[in-house]
Subunit: 551 residues, 2 copies
């Protein structure tokens, strides 16, 4: 028996495009001699469809795609396993299941439902789905197949405290021959390792090979990284599909069975953290544009390291010619800001403009002089500059059809070191989930084969250049310390006592945590941030604005 | 026996302030001779605490408040029933329960857990909480008390398809004498009616009086409307506490028992929809400022109806002197825009400035002339005006410590008829959940005793005035039709076929639904919108940005 795994890039709600990909996958699998082709979780509608699931029209369209897939299955004489929402026929409980159809030769032989519904971080599955109440193995061509969906295999031996059942334990009672898992498992830089860890914990427990099929593509801020895995029944990695791109491959089942005692091997990719993050961001930018039907980006290039990194990523994602950099020096900009930025744009081959903002800034201060009379230059004038720049790049965006890329990093976003409607503008935040110290590392990665980002951009002290001789270090702790404290608070959800106990100064910890909490209102209005860590700002971290806690 | 109900306004994470209110409530109840005082759901930490619940430090602080309450209970010799998160002692399942402590004379006699955890619209309770698995009546001073939490009484006779158990059915097996329900039930204009309906369905089923205690106050966009209810065992409304303000009252239990056959009465408040919405918005603005520690608002006053309404609401919430209006005419503004706006500011007694934007606008177009050369005036120049205004009001906000109020209505927000970083700026959207036709009605309500909002503002055709002779009707369908279609799509989640079947033109329906879906990216960056309907934009309506559905 041959099993094909189709790791593809779906588009939420784009039923025609998704069906076209599924159809192409079926035909490629057929041409490779496959008996079964497996697609990923909710492939027909794209993951996560969120509240579109509450529209019966949306669910009907999923069902219509399933009808089309039945036709293809019949035409190819193949079995197709594909993820789709299905209607819960029982009145009691949620309206839907998160399901996997097993369609053989045009007939639905079985529908497996997901039992473990993640409802943490970015996930809201229990908002929509009823968990599976029963489990059944499918028989096809003499083999018994255990089908699970994503999280279903993350409660190995009932050791995950979040869940009270273990679907594979249930399915094992029906003596399956191998396992299929349909996933839509979002990327974070540690996730590929976690995934392999989970698979390696499942396989020896059950002694069965597994075909784990993930999606590969970004849906707004959530990036599915591919990396689908085939493991033999001894838990050796037979294949780990490429990260961040579609891939369809067909595997013989027989060599995956009775592998115990054979020579061990491990075809796992070993990609370092920063490289993974970089590739994820490139895919995130590319898919955001592609799925919205845009081709061209614009961004403000300050001469600092953050916008430099974003320009390099965008150029990789969209092509250098499609990314326009706008240099907007003010009277407070140092000379190197323009020359460094210009050098970078030239190195990458991106078009750029130099648009000084002094006339606009002066026009605002003149207009506001009756109101501002007698007040000292302060945050209002600083923000005016950032906002003048925001208006200029948005005007170019509106005039010529660019999407503006936001260039704030995670450290800034965390402590609110940015101007709403100024440098916080943009359709997409590219590095809003990348801490400043990781920004440095990623720039070094980009320069690994020679200078692309000018060294001076990397080595000079960070500055917003909104007043004379301003430095980030005037307002913020050293980034190495800031990032370390933020990581404990954001990723690890440690409280002040715990962080102080790690050796950080109490005053510093209180100051940083307070800054994070009092700037929630700013993050509420930021663009979606490409998620590359296990805890990004946005849907995965839900905080009240008016709270008074640690603030 | 006397039971006091404490309907109060809590502040998320402000443990000191919440404890001070609870303590004051205990002492007032004591002074009124109460045996038991009942507070609302999650009173110790404020509702909804969202992901703060994932911080063990936050949970410890809740426990510390409970210790303080025990002391007050001992000092007053009273029973206190109060909502707090508690730690699930079992490893399996979620880490927390959403609980009600029953503390008598300094001792925790019982902890009841919530069983029905709403996970729809704005609610995420299953993200944090394990549902109650068992139910127990508390005995106190010879009475047996059934304690439930909010949603627990919304599955009457197991007829709510979302849930499979009915906590009161379980508790009835232990023969309680009366019911307590601790709620944090968010306002929408139909909610008070729904709540009374649910209570009136519960009481006759069980034949017990109920004390239903709600919170009263806004937490960012979510408004708790009070309206706590005491019902006798025949389902007559003995008292419905005031809406939108704190209130503590004490009731004798005896007269609430064996009421069947007595003369029927119904002390329900009957407040019309628009008045409820208006009062909710006033509270929403007041609490947003109060809880963030701000006193002064600013807004752009265009001469149109939306900003007029917001100014009136803000003046009612914060005091007219604390709301500064900024009139920012352009070359496209009609004369009446300034005169109408000025008249309104004078009627209300709000300070105002007139700041023409032409010099700033000209400065932008001059600055951009090398790039814009040869292009016609279009959306870029229109948005430039809106953004110039946004920058001016934000500069005043930063300079003088105002919070900017956003003035977009729900119809505009739905179809994306607004400029990001322009008129979509603001810390809080006051009428983002109020359709345009409701805006008209609310203005008439405000003028019910005489003209406050100048009639010309209400009667003139709506216009953004960003190009010569522009009217909203150039770009949008008639608001009456637009609002009707939006209501079906947003509130009722009807699909295109269903809406067309109601008699709307297919082309119009497709156009409107498409506009809603393709402008999701704009709503992602809008300020929080005070929620007054059953389906507001924001946390209660979660949509993917890159989706291609009906678009």
């Amino acid at each position: 028996m041959k099993i094909a795994m189709a790791q593809q890039n779906y588009h939420i709600g784009n039923f025609e495009a998704n069906f076209a990909k599924i159809k192409a996958g079926i035909h490629q699998a057929k041409s490779e001699g496959a008996d079964i082709v497996v697609f990923s979780e909710l492939a027909v509608c794209g993951y996560p469809p969120r509240d579109f699931l509450e529209f019966s029209d949306f669910i009907s369209r999923c069902a219509a795609v399933i009808e089309q897939i039945k036709t293809e299955s019949a035409a190819t004489n193949m079995a197709v396993v594909v993820g789709s929402p299905t209607v819960n026929p029982v009145v009691e409980g949620k309206d839907l299941f998160n399901s996997a159809y097993f369609i053989a030769n045009g007939v639905v032989k079985h529908i497996a439902h997901k039992a473990l519904l993640p409802t943490y971080d970015i996930f809201d599955e229990y908002r929509y789905f009823e968990p599976a109440h029963s489990f059944e193995v499918v028989e096809y061509k003499g083999k018994r197949i255990a089908i699970t969906i994503c999280e279903d295999i993350w409660n190995i031996g009932n050791e995950n405290p979040l869940y009270t059942i273990c679907p594979m334990d249930e399915l094992m009672q029906q003596s399956p021959d191998f396992m299929l898992n349909l996933s839509a498992s979002p990327f974070s830089y540690g996730h590929a390792q976690e995934r392999l860890h989970v698979l390696k914990a499942n396989v020896p427990r059950y002694g069965l090979p597994i075909f784990y099929v993930n999606g590969a593509g970004a849906q707004t801020e959530i990036i599915f990284d591919g990396g689908s895995v085939v493991m033999n029944d001894a838990g050796m990695v037979v294949d780990e599909m490429p990260y961040f791109k579609p891939c369809i491959r067909t595997y013989e089942l027989a060599p995956l069975l009775q592998s115990a005692g054979k020579v061990a091997f491990d075809n796992t990719q070993h990609t370092p953290k920063i490289e993974l993050m970089y590739q994820a961001l490139v895919l995130g930018v590319r898919d955001y544009f592609g799925k919205l039907g845009f081709t061209k980006a614009i961004l403000g290039l300050s001469g600092g390291i953050d916008s430099a990194l974003v320009l390099a990523i965008a150029a990789a994602a969209l092509g250098a010619k499609n990314v326009r950099a706008v240099l907007m020096p003010s009277q407070f900009s140092s000379e190197h800001s323009v020359s460094d930025a210009e050098k970078l744009a030239k190195n990458l081959g991106c078009p750029y403009d130099i648009i000084p903002i002094k006339p606009v800034f002066d026009s605002f201060t003149t207009t506001l002089s009756p109101q501002f009379a007698g007040t000292p230059f302060n945050i209002a004038e600083e923000n005016l500059q950032a906002r003048a720049r925001g208006v200029i790049v948005m005007a170019l965006s509106n005039k010529f059809g660019y999407i503006l890329l936001n260039t704030s990093n995670k450290s800034e976003a965390a402590v609110g070191y940015g101007t709403l409607y100024g440098d916080m503008c943009g359709g997409l935040s590219v590095i809003g989930d990348v801490y400043k110290m990781e920004v440095y590392e990623m720039c070094k990665f980009i320069n690994r084969n020679g200078e692309i980002i000018p060294t001076n951009i990397i080595t000079k002290p960070p500055s917003a250049e909104l007043r004379p001789n301003q430095k980030d270090s005037d307002s913020l702790p050293d980034y190495a310390v800031l990032d370390a404290v933020l990581y404990e608070y954001i990723e690890r959800r440690k409280g002040p006592k715990e962080i102080i106990a790690m050796g950080f100064s109490p005053a510093l910890v209180h100051r940083i945590l307070r800054l994070v909490n009092i700037t929630e209102y700013k993050r509420y209005q930021t663009p979606p941030m490409l998620r590359v860590s296990a805890k990004a700002f946005g849907m995965g971290r839900r905080m009240p604005i008016v709270a008074k806690y640690l603030s």
